[in-house]
């Protein structure tokens, strides 16, 4: 919402001007970043580990090598991951099962990080509905832009959370899009997927992956979106997102169930 205000302020006042500036930002000791994902689909799951760098450095994030990484579930199953490339740890036989609780355990030179994620039971994505968008950028023609609504029915229980990943003509959209059922619990979904950088035009091929995610993972992405603030008028005070990793690392561990649909925009 704040972004919309800002856009309006900016377009109305025309005279606003941007420039790149030099700011002397503090350096900090590198922090551990863990990005762990697993699903209910057969396959190899990955846990990526890297370190933060200073703002003025290039975007090269040093991998965390030589860590011991295990994922276990509440039935006693456990698997140790292997480092397949620097900082990338992979599973072998593990298969996520809806309803189970998974625990990620990471040991980096004696320091332990843990994260717990419940893999939700699958709520299937039934279809993707494409409708013309009336959220237009200034100057855009009506009818030129479309927007996708994922069709699914939210279960009656409270606390279901979803993540959507859109791939347009083979290119993955980077936006973190998450829904919860605070508003429309137990009802067919009506909300479209708003993504700032994605423009659907006639003839495009769109794939939508819908993930059922744990509430802690929803909180992570929600707060990550919230805190992309940038000073007065630009949003909320920035802060690190709320993570489900215990032990002082950045990032998240998400066990999710997933389904996918592809449509041609017309």
């Amino acid at each position: 919402m704040k972004n919309i205000f800002f856009i309006i302020i900016a377009i109305v006042l025309f005279s606003s001007c941007e420039k790149v500036i030099e700011i002397d930002l503090n350096s900090t000791a590198p922090q551990i970043v863990i990005e762990g994902e697993m699903s209910d689909q057969v396959g190899i799951y990955t846990v990526k580990m890297s370190k933060t760098v200073n703002f003025s450095d290039a975007n090269n994030y040093p991998p965390v090598q030589g860590a011991t990484v295990t994922i276990s579930d509440n039935t006693g199953l456990s698997e140790t991951l292997t480092e397949s490339a620097a900082g990338i740890y992979k599973t072998h036989n593990l298969l996520g099962v809806g309803g189970r609780t998974y625990t990620l355990n990471v040991n980096i030179a004696g320091k332990i990080y843990t994260a717990v994620s419940v893999l939700p039971t699958l709520v299937p994505l039934q279809a993707i509905r494409i409708i013309p968008s009336n959220l237009l950028r200034p100057g855009q023609d009506t009818g030129a832009r479309f927007i996708a609504i994922p069709n699914y029915i939210d279960p009656f229980s409270i606390g279901n959370c979803y993540q959507f990943i859109q791939t347009l003509n083979g290119k993955k959209d980077n936006a973190f899009i998450v829904f919860n059922d605070n508003v429309n619990n137990g009802m067919p979904n009506q909300r479209p997927i708003f993504s700032r950088d994605l423009e659907l035009k006639k003839g495009d091929t769109l794939t939508v992956e819908m993930r059922n995610i744990d509430k802690t993972v929803y909180d992570y992405f929600y707060s990550l979106n919230q805190s992309s603030g940038n000073g007065p008028g630009g949003g909320s005070t920035p802060a690190n997102p709320v993570s489900n990793i215990v032990g002082g690392a950045l990032g998240y561990f998400s066990a999710y169930s997933t389904s996918k649909k592809t449509v041609i925009v017309q």
Partner: protein
């Protein structure tokens, strides 16, 4: 026998005469503008025979002086008016209404101050009074004169941001200012995202800002009271005033309903930036405007009783094609009855209504949702003012407010799981305040306010402990929930060191039962008001102030140095990453903590002559400590600005031309910038270490204006106002964003956005 009777009669006469020498009588009345019949708030009446004895009339122009019988010369004066002296023989209670003539009538303007040395003699400190005629000369953004923006040029008052009418007083947040329009609280005093205030200066008679040490009749906010009084309307002649500007216009009509018995005033204002939008192809579907109306009428029932009705209605509308619309606004209404019960006792009874609400509607095809929130008050106030003698004046009364708070709810067209249930509360206060002149040197102003806030039934209240719901209280309609009581003592003392200087000391406790939840770094119309609950306790502040006041050159210069220390308890803020719109209970998203603020304010004002103006400097620190933010350490609040300087100068060049300029400088706001970065799913994410650990670049700006008063033709008066905002085109940082460098994706960069460069303005004002 006859002789005896004569003798006895003489004896009796002389005895009564002797007695009369010691008997006191009261002279009272109302002070008005001779031409318009407007009461002059704060005009002073001084008894010339009795050094140091005098009184300032109250907010309804009423004064009452109780003196020993005798002959006196009363000198009545008010800023911008020609003083008047009245000789009176006080041998019975007298009623004397005084009419003062506006200085403008006498070609050569003699600006004689209120009581010229009132700033030195009065016990109260931290009080700023704005001169309405000054406001029209000071340059402002878009040329729309604005009381709130002028206030920001005073010490201890900080602007909420570029071109913004929001303000912070002595380290308080924006919601800790009690903003009153004819006694009615205004919950959001800004239009157009802050670029305009809700106050149409054509309708305004008096503006007083009290920075924390307010007398006991005010309460309910921690940091300040901004008391704005509207004009009553000319009760002698019809008058039309207006102004045409580049992006807005305003007009006001006032006049008698029955001559010298009743009058009315109606003002209206609208911006038309959207008209220009319509002309452009790109933006033709967007709308962005506001309008507001003030209306007022009053009726003198008789010499002693008068009733007033006043109202404000304002609305902002902002639309983005057919997809997105938001509108918000305030409505206030005041019905007031003034009664002079006896020459020493004045009564004011008011029934007040206030309402603030906002609605957001998003209607993308096939789906839609809305978010709205409202706060509504019914308020009954009874106040007595009692003037027993020249040393004492009392104010006492009560105030009772019934609040209806409708929390913000996210609702789709197909409904919401969380029904929007309004909460009800009753806020009460009783108070007494005494102003006592101990002797010629020592003045004291002290009072006590007892306030309470009761949660009324109709909703379920959850109790949270350590971020988890531990219990809930179901309050059925008609039941009373928890009541919070607070004692709020206030005292101010002034001691005159010399005829031209004094020191003052003040302490006050204030409490606040309503809290504005805002997640944004500036205020936004969608911030919501919430009352005390089982988790949210009344905010409490204790402020001590010490000041030195000195006038120079026969009161032509005013100087003051004030220091303050303020301690704040039970401050409320959102958690990091709080879910604001769709959380089932917003109270689960809150954090609580405390605050402290301290500073030094220096102020030098030149009040008379061709060149007038002031210099103000504030050195201050404002900090917060919240459990759950920045490892529970103290951190600088966003409005913490170490240095804040304003220089305002006005120069009367010729009888037609006047010039004005102001320059402001302040330390950049405390902000949170990243201290590192990392990557999540291919996106650069920033790593933050501490809350508000960085500073925006320092802000500075100069504005210029020139006003040309055209020759008066008959009743018709007009003037042109030319202004330049940000005259040397300083690019002040409005936001600083961090992003990937578009030319080199392996790097990140900081981008600063400045909102305005130089903005010229031109306004035509007229009056007939």
């Amino acid at each position: 026998m006859f002789k005896k009777i004569i003798l006895g009669l003489l004896l009796w006469v002389s005895m009564t005469h002797l007695m009369a020498q010691n008997t006191k009588f009261t002279i009272s009345g109302t002070i008005r503008d001779a031409k318009t019949g407007e009461e002059l708030i704060g005009a002073s009446v001084v008894v010339q025979e009795l050094a140091g004895i005098g009184i300032t009339c109250n907010e309804y122009g009423f004064y009452s002086l109780t003196l020993k019988s005798g002959s006196y010369t009363l000198k009545t004066s008010f800023i911008g008016y020609e003083p008047i002296t009245n000789k009176v023989v006080l041998d019975k209670d007298l009623k004397l209404d005084i009419n003062l003539s506006n200085g403008a009538e006498l070609k050569e303007v003699i600006v004689s101050a209120k009581k010229q040395d009132e700033n030195v003699t009065k016990a109260q400190m931290g009080v700023e009074k704005l001169d309405i005629t000054e406001i029209s000369k000071i340059p402002v953004l878009f040329g729309e004169k604005d009381v709130l923006k002028t206030l920001q040029l005073l010490p201890g008052v900080k602007s909420a941001g570029e071109g913004n009418s929001g303000f912070y007083v002595r380290g308080g947040s924006a919601d800790q200012n009690l903003i009153l329009l004819d006694e009615a609280p205004v919950y959001n005093a800004s239009h157009l995202l802050g670029f305009f205030s809700t106050f149409n200066s054509d309708a305004i008679k008096d503006v007083t800002l009290i920075k924390g040490n307010s007398p006991a009749q005010y309460g309910g906010r921690l940091s300040s009271v901004l008391d704005v009084k509207m004009n009553e309307g000319n009760d002698k002649n019809y008058q039309v005033k207006g102004g045409i500007g580049l992006i807005s216009s305003r007009v006001s009509v006032e006049g008698p309903i029955q001559k010298e018995k009743s009058s009315f005033l109606i003002t209206g204002r609208r911006t038309y930036a959207d008209v220009f939008l319509k002309l452009s192809d790109q933006f033709k579907d967007n709308s962005l405007y506001f309008y507001d109306f003030n209306a007022k009428a009053n009726y003198r029932i008789n010499d002693k009783n008068r009733i007033f009705a006043s109202g404000y209605f304002g609305r902002d509308k902002l639309g983005f094609g057919s997809a997105f619309g938001i509108d918000w606004g305030n409505i206030t209404g005041t019905l007031r009855w003034n009664s002079i019960l006896n020459p020493k006792l004045f009564s004011n009874t008011s029934v007040i209504y206030s309402d603030y609400n906002y609605n957001i509607k998003v209607s993308a095809t096939g789906t839609g949702f809305k978010i709205n929130s409202q706060i509504q008050d019914w308020n009954l106030k009874q106040e007595f003012q009692y003037f027993p003698n020249t040393e004492n004046s009392w104010r006492f009364g009560f105030n009772s407010i019934y609040h209806t708070l409708t929390p913000s709810r996210f609702q789709t067209d197909s409904g919401s799981r969380n029904p929007q249930i309004s909460r009800f509360a009753l806020e009460n206060a009783v108070y007494a305040n005494n102003t006592y002149t101990f002797n010629a040197k020592l003045n004291i102003d002290y009072g006590l306010r007892l306030s309470s806030y009761s949660i009324l039934g109709g909703d379920t209240y959850n109790i949270y402990q350590n971020n988890r719901k531990s219990d809930s209280v179901v309050l059925a309609k008609g039941n009373w929930g928890k009541t919070y009581f607070n004692f709020e003592p206030r005292v101010s003392v002034s001691y005159k060191l010399t005829d031209y200087s004094s020191i003052k000391l003040a302490y006050s406790r204030n409490t606040q039962n309503l809290h504005l939840l805002s997640n944004s770094t500036s205020t936004s119309p969608t911030d919501q008001w919430i009352g005390n609950s089982y988790n949210i306790k009344p905010e409490i502040s204790d402020q001590v102030g010490l000041g030195y006041f000195r006038n120079f050159a026969n009161n032509a210069f005013e100087f003051s140095a004030e220091t303050y220390y303020k301690n704040m308890q039970n401050q409320v803020d959102y958690k990091n990453g709080a879910d604001i719109n769709s959380a089932p209970d917003v109270e689960s998203e809150l954090l609580f903590g405390k605050g402290r603020a301290y500073g030094l304010e220096l102020y030098l004002k030149k009040k008379t002559g061709k060149f007038t103006g002031w210099l103000s400097y504030t050195l201050s620190r404002t900090e917060r400590q919240m459990d759950g933010i920045s490892n529970n350490n103290w951190y600088a609040a966003k409005q913490d600005r170490t240095h804040d300087i304003s220089i305002v100068g006005m120069y009367q060049l010729t009888t037609n031309w006047s010039l004005a300029a102001n320059w402001v400088y302040y330390t950049g706001n405390a902000v949170t910038f990243p201290s590192g970065k990392y990557n999540i799913s291919g996106k650069t994410i920033y790593y933050y270490t501490e809350r508000n650990g960085y500073r925006m670049p320092a802000y500075h700006r100069m504005d210029l204006s020139a006003t040309y008063e055209q020759k008066r033709t008959g009743r018709y008066q007009s003037s042109w106002n030319f202004g330049v905002y940000n005259a040397y085109a300083r690019e002040n940082a409005y936001t600083i964003t961090f992003k990937d460098n578009p030319d080199d994706p392996t790097r990140t960069q900081a981008v600063q956005t400045a909102l305005f460069k130089t903005i010229p303005s031109i306004t035509y004002n007229f009056k007939f």
